[in-house]
Each structure stands twice: as C-alpha cells, then as structure tokens.
C-alpha cells in the first residue's frame, strides 16, 4: 500500500489491527484527513467485479443469513420504487433516472440509477401502519409484522444516513419502527460516482460514498465494473467467499477521481451548512423572505412524504364492522392539518409550515439527533409538482450564496 491517500494526498494512519476470519491479522489504515462521512475507500481495500459477482455476493449473504427477504430499488414496468424484490435481478442496471425540479424520468440511454420517490422509509415506517386492534369486547391486541429477516440491497449512502437519523428519532420509541429496523440483517449500499442533478449529499456529509453502517458497498465504475468494499466482518467474510479480485491501481484511481468530482460538483450546490444555520437563525422572523420562497408552494405535502427523514404521523382510529383499529399514517408538516389543534392552529399560514420544514431539517434535528436532518437526496426538489427547489431557498438564505 502506498502511504498516501489518493484522494486527499495525505498520509495514511493505522486505525487498528483486526483479526480476519482467515486467522490472519490485518492492519486497518485510513487516510488521516478522513472524517466519519467521507471515508477513503475503506483503506483502499477495494475489490473489483461485475453484476454477476454482486449476484453471487447477494446469494452468499442470503445463504449465510438464512431465509431473508430482499428489499431495494426495483425496476418493474418502466417504474422504479423501493420495495421487496422477488429476485436480485430486479435491481435497475440498464436505466438511468433523470431528475430535475418537478421532473423525473427513467431513461434507457444511461445506466446510473440514483433513487426513486420511495425510500427505505417506506419499509421502516410504512405510510399506513396498524398499531393495534380493539375487539368488540374491548380487548386490545397489539399488531405486529411477525418475525422477519431483511437485507437491504442497493440503497444509497444518503438512504443509509437517513436511516441513522430516523433511528435517533424513532428507534426504541416507535414499536413499529423498532421491530422493522431490527429485522434488517444486512445492508448492501450502492455508492454514487455520478450524482443526480438534484443530489447534494456531500454538502451535508451524507454521501456519495459511505464509511460505516453497512456490510458491503459497491460503486459502479463503468457499466459492468463494480468496485466493492466491506464495512463489517460479515461483509468481509462474504466478499472473501465470493472470491473477488483485489482492485487494480487503475480502478482505485478512477474510483477516487470520480468520487472527488462528484463531491466538488455537489458541494457547490448549496452554501456551507454552518453558514446556512447562522442565516436561518437570523431570518426566522423574516416573513417576506419565507413568503417569497414558498410563493409557488401549494401545501401538497409531497416533499414530506418523499423525504427519507420525515417521520411525522397522524394517529387515526378506524371503526370497522366488529372491531376497531388504530393506524399511524404519514402526515407531513406542509399539510394544513399539521399544527391544527383543538381550539386553534399553530401554523395556519402556509409559509410558516414551509419554514418549519427547513428549520426542522437544519436547526431542530441537530438538537434531536445531533446532526442535520437533510441528507441532500434532492427528493423534495424532484418530486415537488411545482418544482419548489430547497437549494434555491438555502442559497437565497445566505446572501452571496453559491448559486
């Protein structure tokens, strides 16, 4: 190993010595400039393979874990969504997504897929989930999903960070979320070497690569050239078993170059988070600013529903013939009902709800979970029917912003 990180041109430092399953001791190195979200390719322990190898990896993982279900982005009839996959090969490999404010298309002229309107949130906190059932004799039965084992396949670094944010809010508190979260036995992440047009994950330290919280990650260098790395001993075991080749210098170089490009491109899309936070605090009371940036917003709530970190739900009791059930249903803060309480409304004017969305992501999540609540996936931008662009809002906040 060279003693210099290709990406940062900085020294490697030794982190720890780990015992491999093979019984050999291995030194774990890392770039000295590494921060928790921008790992230097797991110490250049990169492997190389193709989609066939990814298939093998998935199969080995499923065998190892036994009886697990696969969830990920799947392509079906020209449509991509996050959900249960019947088979590994439903993964989108031959299409690209084109994302712009208020615009999404699947195209067959490219092959890099970022993400769909639905995210792992759809599994972790289903849009309508049963909480309990009450029988006619007023017996309360708590509903649950039964035992499951799940593997997430091909989720993105932004998705993975969104899970950590949701963990901070819901884990151990929401029984539905906790149960589903615990059912995830392994996570395979697809890193992004070419971000989408609305992505800005690197600016909020959520991507486009991943350094922890996964078992196996891969990045698509070229159409059928994948660079693999592991993030857990399970992942390491599987990659070794799959017999993957070590990546060559040319792969490593190309990988880091693409990552660096992706990062510099995305970083320029929004102002620095610290500046944003400062500006937000100063402009909370600037009514005309918030009215202006939300002037096209009609309060449809799409931004909340597609956001992988929005977690707000309404509890609704439904009376059926012979029993009642209590359900939790997604209900986001852009919606009029949000803030409506007996006797009044906390946020009657729409601009105050749009403002709350932005404030929650950038000022309040840090108080709740110790990090900003936006992972820069850009879904709220792409899926807003009116194309309201969060990046514009953020950049307008900071005068002399980068856009």
């Amino acid at each position: 190993m060279d003693n210099e990180c290709y990406l940062h041109k900085a020294k490697y430092v030794m982190l720890e010595t780990r015992l491999l399953n093979t019984g050999l001791a291995k030194k774990v190195w890392s770039c000295s400039t590494m921060n928790t979200n921008e790992l230097c390719g797991n110490n250049c322990n990169l492997f190389v393979g193709g989609f066939k190898d990814l298939g093998t990896v998935v199969k080995l993982l499923q065998e190892d874990l036994g009886g697990v279900r696969l969830f990920g982005y799947k392509l079906h009839n020209d449509r991509i969504e996050f959900g249960e996959m019947k088979d590994f090969d439903e993964i989108p490999t031959t299409v690209a997504d084109i994302q712009k404010p208020g615009y999404f298309r699947i195209s067959s002229t490219g092959y890099r897929f970022r993400h769909s309107f639905s995210s792992p949130k759809a599994f972790l906190l289903p849009p309508e989930h049963s909480i309990l059932t009450v029988s006619q004799g007023y017996e309360i039965v708590e509903d649950g999903d039964g035992e499951m084992g799940v593997v997430f396949l091909g989720i993105k670094p932004c998705d993975r960070k969104a899970m950590s944010i949701l963990d901070g809010i819901l884990y151990g508190k929401s029984p539905v979320y906790t149960k589903r979260r615990d059912s995830i036995k392994a996570i395979i992440v697809e890193e992004c070497l070419e971000p989408g047009e609305t992505c800005f994950c690197s600016a909020v330290k959520a991507g486009p690569t991943i350094s922890s919280g996964f078992d196996i990650a891969y990045a698509r260098l070229y159409k059928d050239t994948l660079v693999f790395k592991y993030g857990s001993s399970l992942g390491e075991k599987i990659l070794v078993k799959a017999g993957l080749q070590k990546a060559q210098d040319s792969h490593v170089k190309a990988y880091f170059e693409m990552v660096a490009n992706a990062i510099s491109m995305m970083n320029s899309r929004i102002s620095r988070v610290e500046e944003l936070q400062k500006a937000l605090k100063e402009r909370i009371g600037d009514k005309s600013f918030w009215e202006k940036v939300s002037s096209n917003c009609v309060g449809c709530g799409n931004c909340n529903y597609v956001c992988p970190t929005c977690f707000c739900t309404e509890i609704n009791d439904i009376v059926e013939e012979g029993y009642s059930k209590r359900i939790g249903m997604w209900l986001g803060c852009l919606t009029y009902t949000y803030g409506l309480v007996a006797g009044g409304h906390f946020r009657q004017e729409l601009y105050t709800r749009y403002r709350h969305f932005v404030l929650h992501k950038f000022l309040f999540y840090p108080k709740q979970v110790g990090d900003v609540g936006c992972v820069g996936c850009g879904r709220c931008i792409t899926w807003c029917p009116l194309g309201v662009d969060l990046r514009d809002t953020l950049n307008l906040l900071v005068e002399g912003g980068t856009r």
Partner: protein, 255 residues
C-alpha cells in the same frame, strides 16, 4: 337508534347510491333507522330526526327554503358530496346566460325556475359535518356512521390528494409522466383513485378551502398549462367542482 333523514337537492344522485350502500352493513342498520329518504321509504314529509344527510346544491328559492326547514328539524346536519359542500359540476353554468343554459338542456325552458348562481348548502345553513366527493367515498360515510354511533366523529384531515397518493405508494404521474394532475390543489378523501390508474386527478373533491390564494392557484394553473393542458379546461375543472372556494379565491380572498 338514531333517526336519519336523507334530503336530495340538485345533483346526480351518485352520493345517494353510497348512502344506500352504507345502510347494507348490519352493524350500521342496527343503530340507525331511516325515517325520511325519498328513494327508500314512502314518507311524504320529513319529521324531526337526529341526523340529516343533504346531497346536492341549491338551485332555486324552493330548495333554499327546504334546506332551512330541514336544518330546523335535524339535530345534526351532514353535507354530502361536492355539490352540497362547494357547488359541484352544475357550477359550470355560472357565468353563462342562464336562459341559454336552460334552452340548451330543456325542451320547455319556461318551466325551469333556477338561480343564475349555484349555492352550496354550506352557504345557506350551518352544517355540522361535511363529506365532499363526486361521488363521496363510501368508506368516509360508513366511518362517520360507525363513529357517530359510538358518540364520536371521524377526525377531519385537511390535506391534498397527493397525501393519499403517497400513502398508497403511487409514483406521481405529474412528475414522472408529465400528466396534468389536480391532486396538489384538491381536497383528499378519494384515496387517489385517478393517479392509481395512471391518470391525473381532475379535482372532483373540490379545490382546497385552505392554503390557496390567487397567486398560488395561478402558479399551479401555469404548471398544468406547461404540461399541455388547455387553459379553459383548467379553469373549468377548478371552477366546476369547488365553485364556492374557487370564486372566493378569484374574488381575491384567501381560501
């Protein structure tokens, strides 16, 4: 046993079908007795009842008086359907010469007594609960009837069709296919039926009585026009269901 009446004004009777259907559930029939309902029971005059469901909009003086007398005889009034709540499709004629409209529809227009305007029930009397929809969603009605029997009411969720669309896990037809969809400005309740069939919402639950103003509605109309929808069609859809809200917004008021 709660005593129920159903009163029909100007409408297509689509919602009436949903009411009839709701009363086929045994747990509902066991708690309600239908006292007055022209389509079901042979009673000439409505007496005092606990709940009345009013379907349709008001087209003339006679209906207006009727609605007022119904209010006086009922403990709880539910406006059923977009017509009763916001005006409904018959509002399309507002703005045209009423005599031309009469001539276009009826062979002997001289017998038709009709206002030039359309009045939703909610304009004339105080209603206690509204269930919009064209027609209403049957499950909203059964949910009301079941909860009312327990001494409660369904929670009213004020949101767009988009919320239901997303909770159903549907991909947005507007964003992903460029299909004009009125979901963002339309009151929820249908369960996003149209987007579930790959077509755009045409606003049959009426436009939102909250969060919209002229500027926002115009921004949204421009968006639909960009997607190739005809300007006149956009205006017809916005006006044709949620007339009451639409005209208030166009007069410059906030919804």
């Amino acid at each position: 046993m709660y005593r129920v009446a159903v009163v029909k004004l100007t409408s297509c009777s689509g919602c009436i079908n949903e009411i009839v259907y709701a009363f086929t559930f045994s747990d509902i029939v066991s708690k309600y007795r239908i006292e007055y309902f022209t389509e079901l029971v042979d009673v000439e005059e409505m007496g005092g009842v606990d709940i009345v469901f009013i379907e349709g909009s008001i087209s003339n003086k006679h209906q207006e008086e009727l609605v007022k007398s119904v209010r006086a005889k009922a403990g709880f009034v539910v406006a059923i359907g977009t017509c009763a709540v916001m005006g409904g499709v018959q509002s399309l004629r507002v703005g045209s010469d009423v005599n031309d409209v009469k001539k276009a529809v009826y062979a002997e227009p001289q017998y038709i007594e009709v206002y030039s305007d359309v009045k939703p029930v909610t304009d004339v009397i105080k209603v206690d609960f509204v269930i919009p929809g064209c027609p209403i969603n049957g499950s909203a009605l059964t949910s009301f009837l079941r909860k009312y029997a327990f001494g409660g009411l369904p929670i009213a969720v004020h949101e767009s069709v988009c919320a239901e669309c997303k909770r159903r896990g549907l991909e947005c037809v507007l964003v992903a296919r460029g299909v004009p969809c009125l979901g963002p400005v339309t009151v929820s309740g249908c369960g996003a039926i149209c987007p579930s069939f790959g077509r755009g919402c045409y606003g049959c639950y009426g436009i939102k009585y909250f969060d919209l103003n002229r500027e926002k509605l115009e921004a949204f109309s421009r968006r639909l026009a960009e997607l190739g929808m005809d300007r006149d069609d956009i205006d017809a859809l916005l006006k044709g269901y949620g007339f009451k809200v639409y005209s208030a917004i166009m007069r410059g008021g906030e919804a």
